[in-house]
């Protein structure tokens, strides 16, 4: 298959050139000394390690250019360990390169393929084995074994069933109910509209029943971002506008793409940006996606105030928060 013309002839391995240490005993002696010095330097490294480990105060910080203020003990044991290893390596390689034989030798390659007679023999004995087991003659055994072996894999899979509960409807639910107070996070204090100036942002959580503790699972779905603009800055339809209160708008803080916290708010453009994959949401247009991989706006939470003047949720989220999943509607 190759259009091979007559190739140039192979001149064979070049003649071996001796190194200085091979012919000059003084050079050999010098190389030996160099190797010994390298090995000794390794021992010095080990000593530095031991010294730093026991005798350097663990609160001592020293200034090293480029690195800045550095813990002396960590640095000492690290450098000691590195030196003890490195110089063994340098010594061994130097030894191999200067004093060990450097003449290349040729070994023949055997063919990987077995002898034809061995192959034939193998086929014969494999066939004979199968023959004596009688698999070919007894299809009932073969089929029932295949079925049984297939089924026997099932328990292994089923055993994993209790790794976790079934999702049920839980991905569609959050702790926000109609009338749930918005509280600061951290601090858990209820908020009045007057607490937020125009342009301000705050992370809030749903108020907990007394004595209950907020779990990370709650935060992963409940985290909400409050942003206050001038009402005239919104470009919302009537329904979504009615979900805001005196220019305060609330969105789920959990990115609709992959669930990171959408934490970067740019006040001048009124854009929310997710630091994970740079999905960018326009706050004035109900968190519409204006850039990046997210396919859906951040879910908006309808808010208003209760009789005491504190901000509350008007209703639960109307859609699932966080990243998409197969059963998600919309």
């Amino acid at each position: 298959m190759s259009k091979e013309l007559e190739p140039l002839s192979d001149p064979g391995l070049p003649e071996h050139i001796h190194r200085k240490a091979d012919i000059d005993p003084i050079a050999a002696k010098r190389a030996e000394r160099q190797v010994a010095i390298l090995f000794s330097l390794s021992a010095v490294g080990t000593l530095l390690f031991i010294y730093s480990f026991f005798f350097v105060n663990e609160d001592l910080f020293i200034f090293i250019p480029i690195m800045g203020s550095t813990n002396a003990q960590q640095l000492g044991i690290g450098i000691g360990m590195a030196a003890s290893l490195l110089f063994i390596g340098f010594g061994a390689v130097h030894w191999a390169k200067t004093l060990m034989p450097d003449q290349e030798v040729i070994a023949e390659r055997d063919e990987l393929k077995s002898e034809q007679s061995d192959r034939d023999e193998f086929v014969k004995s494999a066939k004979a084995g199968a023959e004596s087991a009688g698999l070919g003659r007894r299809p009932l055994i073969k089929r029932s074994l295949a079925a049984a072996a297939g089924l026997a894999g099932l328990p292994a899979v089923l055993l994993l069933r209790d790794l976790g509960p079934l999702p049920g409807n839980s991905l569609n639910e959050t702790s926000w109910k109609s009338g749930t107070r918005l509280v600061t996070d951290p601090g858990d204090r209820p908020i009045r509209p007057s607490d937020l100036e125009v342009g301000a942002v705050a992370q809030v959580m749903p108020e907990l029943a007394p004595g209950k503790k907020r779990t990370l699972e709650n935060i992963a779905k409940d985290a909400v971002l409050l942003i206050r603009l001038r009402p005239s800055e919104f470009q919302l339809d009537a329904e979504r506008f009615s979900w805001t209160y005196e220019g305060i708008i609330a969105f789920s803080k959990i990115c609709s793409h992959m669930g990171c916290a959408v934490a970067l708010y740019e006040q001048s453009t009124k854009h929310l940006l997710c630091p994970c994959h740079q999905s960018t949401f326009d706050v004035t247009r109900a968190a519409k996606v204006i850039f990046g991989p997210a396919a859906r706006p951040l879910p908006q939470l309808a808010i208003t105030v209760d009789a005491d003047g504190f901000l509350i949720a008007k209703q639960p989220f109307t859609e699932a928060v966080g990243p998409s999943f197969w059963e998600r509607k919309s």
Partner: protein, 530 residues
């Protein structure tokens, strides 16, 4: 006989009577390994793995893989009295209250970065030199499997401390699992023991990270090395080197000293990095909570391409019959990586189908002599590099004063346009280099010496190459294209039809080469000039 020799002899006798090892050792102590710096790359991967086992074992003595809530009481003042998981608290304990703990953590992290990097560079060496060809296809597949597992193992490893950065990584992994059509929601609930983040994920990935995957690694690496041993190492072409021999140094003592010494050097360099170069200073990030994030969140380097692909994905999601499919996650997160790794694993078979070459190869290719493969490699690398650049788009934007939108659009367009461009350019470069080789063999090296001839003409003296060099530049084969057989002599159409057509087409592209000088041409020039 000295006493020492007698004792050694007795021990050897004792072992051999029970194992018969002498016969095997006799043969293998003199095993020949070819010498070349690029054969060191796989060694670095192996040694990093050993370093990972050693440093990782050290870390397990203190690490508490639990998501139980604790209040931090250790010596790092800024996080005092902060509520966090036991995993994060124990990682802080290792970093601040165990002597050498921070050093070992940093050695472990650096070794992991070097491990994956060494595997990737080793893989590139094997690819571009054609070392994956028959009989080494199995080892290529094992290598691809090891790379895949190394990426997973690395991700699980840096996810363990449960700090704000790694927790964000787990959040993204969770979203990828959840995006799988039909079963994704169930899989994520099983993996996390319920809703995200739950309290079981870190203990679960811990056992995968420290037991399951390292066990699989040990098994695969053992087979990988046994195959290298058994099939004997490939070698670069040159005088005296043929498909039927191995030229190099014997295992005992040269290779043992060099390889053994090299292990210490790799370990030493990793320890040095661990000592002076801070990596993953997770005490700065704080404990994970789903409501917070730090700007500039970046994964370790080997996940960068994946993150970059996800970032550049268009916002595609479809809603059909009340079901959601997130193409913006599935395509970059699962489908493209699936295609990349499957294609990589199958490549040896694809190439041998195109070339029709089913022979054994023990001599390596010079990349320029196989322009199509080299160009394909450059094309794939370009794809990965652009994906990776986009993975750092936020960092690039802040450092080079660009907007994220500019980088994102560069990546979105570039990832489609630049790889094919890289293919064409690389192929042209390879052919030019072939032309240069031909020139060198036929007309020798330009010496830069100008000579005035008696009749006034100036010429530059060309110096003839040594026979060894000439041989090295011309020893390779140049494949011929497979002829397309449309119909046989009796007019029967080729039953392979379209497949034969594709094969012939690819094979003719593959056979585009600059004709290398033949012995006859060289002889003719030599007799003419000298």
């Amino acid at each position: 006989m000295t006493a020492r020799e007698r004792i050694a002899g007795n021990v050897a006798n004792y072992v051999d009577e029970r194992t018969g090892a002498a016969a095997w050792l006799k043969k293998n102590l003199n095993k020949v390994f070819p010498d070349h710096w690029s054969f060191m790359l796989g060694e670095i991967a192996l040694y990093s793995f050993i370093i990972l086992l050693l440093s990782g074992t050290f870390l397990t003595f203190w690490f508490d893989p639990s998501m139980r809530h604790v209040v931090y009481e250790g010596s790092y003042q800024p996080l005092k009295d902060v509520e966090m998981s036991a995993a994060y608290a124990s990682t802080l304990h290792i970093s601040f209250d165990v002597r050498g703990g921070l050093l070992m953590r940093q050695i472990h992290h650096w070794a992991a970065l070097i491990f994956v990097a060494a595997i990737v560079v080793h893989l590139l060496r094997v690819f571009f030199t054609g070392a994956f060809r028959k009989p080494r296809e199995f080892n290529w597949i094992l290598g691809v499997a090891l790379l895949t597992l190394a990426i997973v193992e690395g991700f699980l490893g840096y996810s363990l401390p449960d700090d704000l950065l790694s927790g964000t990584g787990i959040r993204i992994a969770h979203a990828i699992i959840q995006s799988i059509p039909v079963v994704g929601t169930y899989l994520s609930f099983f993996a996390f023991g319920g809703a995200f983040p739950g309290e079981v994920f870190i203990p679960r990935i811990y056992i995968v990270h420290v037991l399951l995957l390292p066990g699989i690694f040990l098994a695969l690496i053992t087979v990988h090395l046994m195959l290298v041993w058994y099939q004997k190492h490939t070698q670069y072409p040159g005088p005296g080197r043929t498909e039927k021999n191995v030229v190099g140094y014997p295992l005992m003592p040269v290779y043992m000293a060099k390889a053994g010494g090299f292990f210490f050097i790799v370990f030493g360099i990793t320890a040095f990095l661990g000592a002076v170069a801070s990596i993953n200073p997770l005490w700065l990030y704080g404990p994970y909570t789903p409501g917070q994030i730090s700007a500039g969140s970046q994964p370790d380097w080997y996940m960068g391409w994946l993150d970059g692909l996800v970032r550049m994905s268009p916002p595609l999601e479809t809603y059909l019959f009340g079901k959601t499919i997130s193409w913006n996650i599935l395509i970059p997160g699962l489908i493209i990586p699936g295609i990349i790794f499957t294609g990589m694993a199958l490549y040896p078979f694809i190439e041998s189908w195109i070339t029709g070459d089913k022979r054994e190869h023990h001599l390596l290719d010079r990349p320029r002599n196989v322009p199509n493969r080299t160009a394909l490699g450059a094309m794939s690398l370009t794809f990965m590099v652009i994906a990776m650049i986009n993975g750092g788009n936020d960092i690039i934007a802040t450092h080079f004063d660009l907007t994220i939108n500019q980088i994102m659009w560069f990546s979105r367009i570039g990832i489609i346009v630049l790889p094919p461009l890289a293919f064409v350019i690389t192929k042209r470069i390879c052919l030019s280099l072939q032309r240069k080789d031909r020139e060198l063999v036929l007309h020798g090296r330009e010496t830069g010496r100008l000579v005035m001839l008696p009749h006034g003409e100036f010429i530059e003296v060309h110096e003839e190459l040594s026979p060894a060099k000439k041989f090295a530049l011309t020893q390779h084969e140049q494949p011929a294209a497979i002829e397309l057989v449309k119909e046989d002599a009796r007019g029967v159409l080729n039953p392979k039809g379209i497949r034969a057509k594709i094969q012939a087409r690819l094979s003719s592209a593959n056979a585009e080469n600059i004709a290398k000088p033949t012995a006859a041409e060289v002889k003719e020039l030599e007799s003419g000039h000298h």
